[in-house]
């Protein structure tokens, strides 16, 4: 059996996914299975970026496809299937984060200290070389989940503030405040101040 096309390949050609969505909406379970195979990598990536945890991400993806399957007949097709799936996934991830916070009593303070993940090299050189992907991923994972969800949805997935607020169950202004905090924390972590600058700001 031929390997299924990657999500990126499918997303670059709108036809195959659209046809699968039409067939799935008509009740063709095999078509929905193909949709799962084609999009699960992206859904998992989004879930993992928001939750920061492999197991949570897997649970989120399962729940998201279940909701998508149940709601497929209501999918009007005026948005891309992947965009619709991202919103469901983001919503499931937000729900999972809420449950996790309640169970583990963690990350209650958005302004909590961020774990240091950046190497202690020359600060000027660090600014010049730009954000390393691994460091960025680690810095994202170290953010409090409320901040991480917003910055991932806005700056990685380009969702508008209104949609982010709706998916996370917060106000639009709260989403903007969280985005500002998240970006500031990431910047401070990835581009730490030099000793001179630290002294200057402490004065």
């Amino acid at each position: 059996m031929a390997e299924p096309a990657t999500t990126t390949e499918l997303l670059s050609v709108p036809g195959p996914l659209d046809a699968l969505v039409d067939r799935a909406r008509a009740g063709d379970d095999a078509a929905f299975e193909e949709l799962v195979r084609a999009t699960h990598g992206d859904a998992f990536t989004l879930a993992h970026r928001i939750t920061g945890d492999e197991e949570d991400a897997r649970d989120v993806v399962q729940e998201a496809y279940l909701r998508a399957y149940r709601g497929l007949r209501r999918f009007r097709g005026d948005a891309q299937f992947t965009t619709w799936l991202y919103r469901i996934t983001a919503n499931c991830a937000a729900t999972a984060l809420g449950k996790r916070a309640r169970h583990r009593h963690e990350e209650l303070d958005d302004d909590g200290d961020v774990v240091e993940t950046s190497s202690h090299g020359d600060p000027e050189a660090q600014v010049d070389r730009g954000a390393d992907r691994d460091e960025l991923t680690a810095a994202l994972a170290a953010l409090p989940h409320r901040l991480r969800a917003v910055v991932v949805l806005r700056d990685v997935y380009d969702l508008p503030h209104e949609a982010i607020a709706a998916q996370l169950g917060i106000s639009e202004s709260a989403a903007k405040v969280r985005l500002h905090r998240a970006r500031r924390k990431l910047r401070e972590q990835l581009y730490p101040l030099g000793p001179d600058e630290r002294r200057r700001r402490a004065v």
């Binding site: 195979r37 990598g41 998992f44 496809y65 992907r133 990685v156 997935y157 380009d158």
Partner: protein
């Protein structure tokens, strides 16, 4: 103009959602600290956007887990449909029985009236 006043706006400037006024632009043009911070935000946003092209590979079994969950949900759905279908059959049967009973009652009443002697 103080750097602290501008610091809240620099991320917005980097993503194009905030426009600085003349005084603010002049400050940034002369302030190395604000220029550095703006450059950092621009690099950060570029790096975040690049993450969009990266797809994380889940450990094996995710697709089969998802499909198994869907299969269970599908079977439940079919069962629900069957149950609701049976309910419809039962309701139809009850309605038919009631109609027959009513018709029989009418026939009995009519026959009884015909047989009864006129006064």
């Amino acid at each position: 103009m103080r750097c602290e006043t501008l610091r809240r706006s620099l991320a917005g400037v980097a993503d194009g959602t905030v426009q600085l006024d003349g005084d603010e632009r002049r400050h940034v043009a002369q302030c190395l600290r604000c220029q550095a911070e703006l450059a950092q935000y621009r690099k950060l946003l570029r790096a975040l956007r690049l993450l969009r092209t990266e797809v994380l590979e889940p450990s094996p079994g995710l697709v089969s887990d998802v499909l198994a969950g869907l299969s269970v949900a599908g079977e439940r759905h079919v069962l629900r449909r069957l149950v609701s279908g049976r309910r419809a059959v039962y309701a139809g049967g009850a309605a038919a029985s009631l109609s027959i009973a009513l018709a029989a009652l009418v026939v009995v009443v009519l026959v009884t009236r015909r047989r009864s002697p006129h006064r």
